[in-house]
């Protein structure tokens, strides 16, 4: 074929950033589903629930009536949301008093705890399940090494980006698995409550996360947070000068989103991108007009890079983050760049989103695999919709509500309607 002579079509690069963020989300969900199906072979009743802040008000008993379970779950969720709000306000306060160093160190300590203790316990479950012959000393040593490398990878940005990304996904998997140990009704009501809280905290004028974002913008600082950052798309045929391939850095736009919330023991996990909040040209250094490709500007801007954002939170119970789309295109490209189809931006997604998506899918896995597929598709659709809304509205948007609400809706529809239909049709070998 003459494909080498054919110029590259536009189809080769469109939508790449979206796929770069969907891939780690899918991997995280897949790992949690595998963990859950391997380790939780008993029924999904709350036999092994552990005392936590999320079961403070009510511990589910499988013999309770549905109404009691619902009431108990609502109480639990309420307690949880109240605690999270309080801790978020505490975080805003700490940030206001410029205790950033403290926050960073606390986050490093938190990720150490997550990787070390939670990771250790889950490894012990797996070792017990598969009867792996390993002795304590080897196990302790490898776990310690794993944990320390993880803390360094997340804390400092000098490691290869794939290691940082891998460890962030691992942290998400570990925390999501622990969330699935909560009782069933509590988990679902908690997910919906967190989605609504996210909506309120980011969009309402008094919401803690919005305050945090505005503080960060006004001070031009980064919020220490755990953020998954997709690799930016480098466009090779946009380098007119010389052999130097410039790594495209994102232009700061007015967008900024964060999400954070935390929990008693842990610090919040924030994800933020500092934005100048001003017009695109201010505060940026243009590399000269000869660098511009037609219609798309290559700009180097200050970027709130991962190095400053690597305060890893201990994500014990919740995190709530938002997505941030940074766009590099010029203003009139906004209609297309806005859909996330631009080739010069990178997308960041907070770790809390990873965790809650995975919790939803893992809970669906505890029922049956058909619900898993339906919820997976719903979450990805929600993520896509949120990206488009983000590009459209150009401001901080919560990533949880659309996906979680769609996921819960599809779970209910599948469980109640689809499953009977498909099983009936398949048993009669009626396929279409």
């Amino acid at each position: 074929m003459d494909s080498n002579r054919k110029p590259k079509s536009v189809l080769d690069s469109v939508g790449e950033e979206i796929v770069r963020i969907i891939t780690p989300v899918s991997i995280c969900m897949l790992l949690v589903v595998i963990l859950v199906s391997v380790l939780n072979n008993d029924s999904d009743s709350s036999g092994s629930s552990f005392p936590s802040i999320a079961t403070y008000a009510y511990t589910e008993n499988s013999s309770d009536s549905n109404w009691d379970k619902l009431k108990g779950a609502l109480l639990n969720a309420l307690v949880f949301v109240v605690v999270v709000t309080a801790v978020t306000f505490l975080l805003v306060l700490l940030f206001y008093f410029r205790c950033t160093k403290f926050l960073k160190y606390y986050m490093g300590f938190s990720s150490f705890l997550v990787l070390g203790f939670m990771g250790g316990e889950i490894s012990l479950f797996l070792i017990g399940k598969f009867r792996v012959p390993i002795d304590c000393v080897t196990f302790g040593l490898s776990l310690f090494n794993f944990t320390v490398v993880g803390v360094l990878a997340v804390f400092m940005s000098k490691t290869a980006i794939i290691i940082t990304q891998g460890y962030l996904v691992v942290i998400g998997v570990l925390v999501a698995y622990w969330f699935t140990l909560l009782p069933e009704w509590t988990t679902w009501v908690l997910l919906v409550a967190m989605a609504l809280y996210d909506l309120a905290a980011v969009l309402l004028p008094g919401g803690p996360l919005r305050l945090l974002v505005e503080l960060a913008i006004s001070r031009d600082e980064d919020i220490p947070a755990l953020v998954y950052e997709a690799r930016p798309v480098i466009n090779p045929d946009s380098v007119p000068r010389g052999a130097v391939v410039q790594r495209r850095v994102w232009r700061e736009t007015r967008d900024n989103d964060l999400g954070s919330d935390e929990n008693l023991d842990s610090t919040s996990n924030l994800n933020s991108t500092v934005n100048s909040g001003l017009e695109s040209n201010s505060g940026l250094e243009r590399l000269g007009d000869e660098n511009e490709r037609n219609g798309v500007d290559v700009e180097d801007g200050q970027v709130s890079r991962a190095d400053s954002e690597l305060a890893a939170p201990l994500i014990q119970h919740r995190i709530n983050v938002r997505m941030n789309l940074q766009e590099g295109g010029s203003n009139d490209d906004f209609a297309l760049e806005g859909i996330g189809l631009g080739s010069s931006g990178a997308i960041k997604l907070g770790l809390g989103d990873f965790i809650f998506y995975s919790v939803l899918v893992a809970r669906a896995a505890m029922y049956d695999f058909m619900t898993v597929y339906a919820c997976y598709l719903a979450i990805i659709a929600g993520l896509g919709i949120t990206l488009m809304l983000l590009a459209f509205y150009q401001k901080a948007l919560p990533a949880l509500p659309v996906s979680v609400l769609l996921g819960v809706l599809f779970y209910l529809l599948t469980r109640l309607l689809l499953e009977t239909f498909v099983v009936q049709c398949s048993m009669n070998l009626l396929m279409f």
Binding site: M370, L377, I380, Q424, L430
Partner: protein, 282 residues
């Protein structure tokens, strides 16, 4: 039967789709997004159908007409969605062409358009395989297996995997045929997809029914040497049920493949000769 068997069934249903995905679709991110959205559309159509039919299930009658109506409504709805998909695709094509002009890249090639159609069809095929085969595969990972009375010689999981493979082929390539038919206005191609879908679905439905099977046995097949046994299971062995339905289904799948191949070849040759004429005349 074991984890190995379960994975085997899953790969049987999804193997060719997986290789198509890895070789063609994973290289272009836009195609991955197209695949995900067409899977979602298929899932939503399935949910709507199940909402409609929920009140009537489980169908306990042995008569054939409820099943026929079920299949007719489902296939009709899905074909309607295909037309909707086409309309959305046209809008998307305009947006992509405008974007290409803006960044001064060439507009969408014909192969690009066919690849998008392929991704859309693959999404439908994967969705069918996932919901009709993989979703039911959970017991297959355990120590036992399961047989249905309609096809009692081979395990149910194997039957559903084989049928899912045929259907995903049909879905994948009939989408390419349908899109090219809508684009060129070719009547044959336009009607090909719904007709093939309906035939394939009916093959599964009708052949299972004992009356139809007996009719076929009486008129077409070798007269039975043994007297009509009372149990359905013995009849399934030689004279019908899935033993007829599945090979016929694969015939339909092969017809789809061949037709799609011929159509794609013809269009490629045409466009190549058109390009040749253009460059010659310049």
């Amino acid at each position: 039967m074991t984890v190995g068997a379960g994975i085997g069934y899953a790969l049987l249903a999804l193997g060719p789709s997986l290789s198509l995905f890895i070789s063609v679709i994973s290289k272009k991110p836009f195609l991955i997004l197209t695949l995900l959205s067409s899977t979602l559309v298929w899932l939503m159509s399935l949910i709507v159908m199940s909402a409609l039919w929920r009140a009537f299930l489980p169908l306990k009658t042995a008569a054939w007409w409820p099943y026929t109506i079920l299949i007719l409504t489902s296939v009709g709805f899905q074909e309607g969605l295909r037309i909707l998909f086409w309309k959305v695709y046209k809008k998307l094509e305009d947006i992509l062409d405008a974007f290409a002009d803006r960044v001064s890249k060439p507009r969408l090639f014909m192969t690009d358009k066919m690849q998008i159609a392929l991704a859309g069809g693959l999404g439908h095929g994967v969705a069918h395989a996932v919901f009709f085969c993989l979703g039911l595969l959970t017991p297959a990972f355990g120590p036992a297996t399961y047989y249905v009375e309609k096809c009692s010689k081979i395990p149910f999981f194997l039957v559903s995997a084989i049928i899912a493979l045929a259907f995903s082929t049909i879905h994948t390539f009939s989408m390419v045929i349908a899109f090219s038919g809508y684009e060129e206005g070719n009547k044959v191609d336009k009607c090909f997809a719904p007709v093939v879908h309906l035939i394939a679905a009916m093959l599964q439905g009708r052949i299972q029914n004992r009356n139809c099977r007996d009719w076929l046995t009486f008129h077409f097949l070798i007269p039975q040497a043994v007297p009509d046994p009372p149990k359905e299971t013995l009849t399934n062995l030689a004279f019908g049920g899935c033993m007829i339905g599945i090979p016929l289904l694969y015939c339909v799948a092969i017809v789809t493949l061949v037709h799609c191949g011929k159509m794609a070849w013809r269009r490629l040759i045409e466009s190549r000769s058109r390009e040749g004429n253009l460059s010659n005349s310049q």
